[in-house]
């Protein structure tokens, strides 16, 4: 049997248990191939990206020292926004996944990396690598699924509070880094008394300390260093943070929210095999199609399906294995969900708006 019988429409009834295990073996073979090919050019790639990002950040912050001069504000803000996006996505997210641990470079390692984001690496690795990647799209287990506050599936009971979710999602997009930091704290669970109080307090302290450090950097020290340009540097830094937030929020919404992506119930994953885990990742993720530059700026999370199947493979390999992965989808009669960025973002927003209303509200209203 498949573990997915409780999905609203089971898209896997045509697959036998043996099919699913074969599918797992085919994906394992793709993984092994990448691992065998990892080498010098990959190491050179990530070092080049880190090097370029640091130079871009230094240059942008340097230009912003003169941000009173409008062209400097514009150039510096664009540079800093791009730098923050690369730092968070192609570098930070992927390094913390352990994608580069095989290099044995203690400076580019999941155990030592800290990123330019409100969420401390340690807490992020727990809620993202462990909870989100293991329990992808399992209602009640995967915090990324609506961040514990949104209705993302018809299976969730509707309450009037959900009417606000288009608004709360928009607010979350603007302040996304704080949103992530706070849902890493599992405030919802804490309020229900399901999280140890001391543990919660200790984690809360870490988050607040990091937020304070980053806010001091972007909103106090760098503006002060800019002298007469203090105020404009502050607005530039705030803009760069918001641009990064909006961009990462949109990319991440495209990963698991667009139409065609499945969600799963807690009971459906009991006793899940490796093949079934792979299958859930395949059905629970969606890609974004587009240019090389777009893929790079999403940290290759535009290859969300490949990333979810192999979260620890170096991100620069996702593009190369995507055709092979898509062929596996075809062979097993599964839908490889993908689309251009605007279409996927619109699709995710449509779903969020539709689910803010009771099930069948729109169709019954038109009857």
């Amino acid at each position: 049997m498949t573990a997915l019988h409780e999905a609203p429409v089971d898209l896997t009834t045509h697959l036998t248990a043996a099919d699913i295990e074969n599918l797992g073996a085919e994906l394992d073979a793709i993984r092994d191939e990448v691992i065998a090919s990892r080498g010098e050019s990959d190491a050179a790639y990530i070092r080049k990206v880190i090097d370029a990002q640091r130079k871009l950040e230094l240059t942008s912050r340097g230009i912003l020292l003169f941000s009173l001069f409008p062209p400097a504000w514009i150039a510096g803000t664009i540079g800093l926004s791009v730098s923050k996006i690369i730092e968070n996505m192609e570098i930070g997210h992927n390094v913390m996944h352990g994608q580069w641990d095989w290099m044995r470079d203690p400076k580019i390692h999941s155990t030592t990396w800290e990123w330019d984001n409100a969420s401390p690496a340690e807490l992020w690795k727990h809620s993202h690598n462990e909870l989100h990647h293991t329990y992808t799209n399992v209602l009640g287990k995967d915090n990324d699924l609506g961040y514990g506050i949104m209705r993302v599936s018809e299976d969730q009971r509707w309450t009037p509070l959900y009417l606000l979710q288009p608004l709360s999602n928009a607010v979350n997009a603007v302040f996304f880094q704080y949103g992530i930091a706070f849902y890493d704290l599992q405030i919802g669970k804490y309020l229900k008394g399901r999280v140890d109080k001391d543990d919660f307090k200790a984690r809360g302290k870490k988050v607040l300390a990091k937020i304070r450090r980053h806010a001091t950097r972007d909103y106090v020290l760098h503006p002060l260093l800019s002298g007469p340009s203090a105020l404009t540097t502050l607005t530039a830094n705030a803009t760069a943070n918001v641009v990064r937030n909006l961009w990462t929020h949109s990319v991440i919404m495209c990963g698991h929210f667009p139409e065609g992506v499945e969600t799963f119930s807690k009971s459906s994953i009991e006793g899940e095999t490796r093949g079934e885990w792979y299958l859930r990742q395949m059905l629970g993720s969606a890609n974004i199609s587009g240019s090389r530059a777009m893929h790079f700026m999403t940290g290759n999370l535009s290859y969300q399906i490949e990333h979810h199947l192999f979260p620890d493979l170096p991100s620069n390999h996702y593009q190369k294995i995507a055709p092979k992965v898509e062929a596996v989808f075809e062979r097993y009669g599964l839908t490889y969900t993908t689309g251009p960025l605007p279409k996927q973002v619109a699709s995710a927003w449509k779903k969020i708006i539709r689910l803010s209303l009771p099930n069948n509200f729109l169709s019954s209203a038109s009857n």
Binding site: D28, D32, I35, R38, G39, E40, S41, D42, A43, A44, D51, R54, K55, L58, M96, H97, G98, D101, W102, M103, R104, D105, P106, K107, H109, S110, T111, E114, W115, D116, K125, H126, N129, E130, H133, T134, K210, R213, H214, T216, R217, L221, H222, L225, R274, W277, P311, D312
Partner: protein
């Protein structure tokens, strides 16, 4: 005057400055940005740049390395640990320093012989290029002549075991004229690393050189050294070479009651036994437990009462990673074996690793 005006301690001031700069660069530290500009600057993690590569024999080269500003110098006979990225993976090995200590350019040199299947030695001999930046540790080892060189010296070396000795000979030349005998073993005359230089030293009467070419002369016999060097018992003896030779020398010297006159340097990497399962030492907690080779180290540790970090338990989240100080582990998914020696900096996922021989996990 009995009171002292408060003085600003330069170190404290530097510390405060550094903390201030760290607030500007958070979450990174200033050195992360400075490394982009100058990886060899003072205060950086110790690194070096390969500036020259000279072939010595058909399978050995000398690498001249310009160390970073943090280099503290060395004593002849010592080795350095060098970290190089081979196929993208950082690997650490120890090599003896062969340079004189007073080079005006401040460079150091190591001499590397390619050993069969040696990942690092083959890379350094055949693939490394001038300009490559390598990671370094400060020089180490007690295999030195101390402050005053003994009057009568015997060096017994084989293969690349000549390297720490060459480091000493080059620095000794200008020194007081010690009575030095070098017994060196290599397959043929052409395989003798520094062959020309050693023969020159012998021709100048600075050393007495005994070459043993094993292809024609047979193996160097530790017990028969007395036939080659008649005043063996009076000599301060230093030996470097394969484990078998050093063991034989130690036995022979001990039998002759001369154990305290023999100093050996064992530079070959420890051979790590690989098999199925093994004793796992969780060396931080001091707990040892057996792993049968099919169970994960995570399960073994938890069953033995070690506080193990853990996460997905299926190899994807990297929440369970821990340093493998020493030993061998096998990936339960792929069967791939990973080995580590002390200082290699190998980190493993305990949830998908089983013991492939005795191992030491830093938990």
């Amino acid at each position: 005057m009995t009171t002292t005006a408060p003085r600003t301690n330069p170190t404290a001031l530097r510390g405060r400055m550094l903390r201030f700069v760290e607030r500007i660069t958070t979450p990174l530290v200033p050195s992360d940005y400075l490394d982009v500009i100058d990886p060899l600057r003072s205060g950086a993690a110790l690194r070096g740049r390969i500036v020259e590569i000279h072939p010595e024999t058909r399978d050995a080269v000398t690498l001249v390395i310009k160390p970073g500003r943090g280099w503290q110098g060395h004593v002849p006979g010592q080795y350095i640990r060098i970290g190089v990225d081979v196929d993208g993976v950082r690997q650490w090995r120890a090599y003896s320093l062969t340079s004189t200590t007073d080079r005006p350019d401040g460079c150091i040199s190591i001499t590397v012989k390619a050993i069969p299947d040696g990942t690092v030695s083959n890379y350094l001999v055949r693939r490394a290029t001038v300009g490559t930046v390598v990671q370094l540790d400060q020089a180490a080892s007690e295999f030195t002549l101390g402050t005053t060189a003994p009057a009568k010296l015997l060096f017994v070396t084989a293969g690349s075991g000549i390297t720490p000795v060459m480091g000493m000979l080059r620095n000794l030349r200008a020194d007081t004229a010690s009575d030095v005998v070098v017994v060196h073993s290599a397959p043929t005359a052409a395989d003798v690393i520094f062959g020309g230089e050693l023969r020159m030293l012998a021709a100048q009467g600075l050393i007495t050189l005994v070459e043993i070419h094993t292809d024609t002369d047979g193996m160097l016999d530790a017990g028969g050294l007395g036939d080659l060097v008649d005043d063996l018992a009076e000599r301060h003896t230093m030996a470097c070479g394969p484990v078998g030779l050093l063991d034989a020398l130690e036995t022979s010297w001990a039998t002759a009651g001369l154990a305290d006159q023999l100093y050996t340097e064992r530079f070959r990497p420890t051979v790590i036994a690989t098999g199925d399962g093994g004793a796992v030492s969780f060396s931080t907690t001091g707990i040892t437990a057996d792993n049968d080779g099919t169970q994960s180290l995570l399960d073994t540790g938890e069953a033995a009462g070690v506080l193990m970090p853990s996460g997905c338990r299926m190899g994807i989240c990297f929440g369970c990673v821990a340093p493998l100080r020493q030993g061998a582990v096998r990936d339960l998914r792929t069967g791939a074996v990973t080995t580590a020696a002390e200082g290699d900096g190998v980190v493993i996922q305990t949830c998908v690793s089983a013991a492939a021989g005795p191992c030491d996990v830093a938990l």
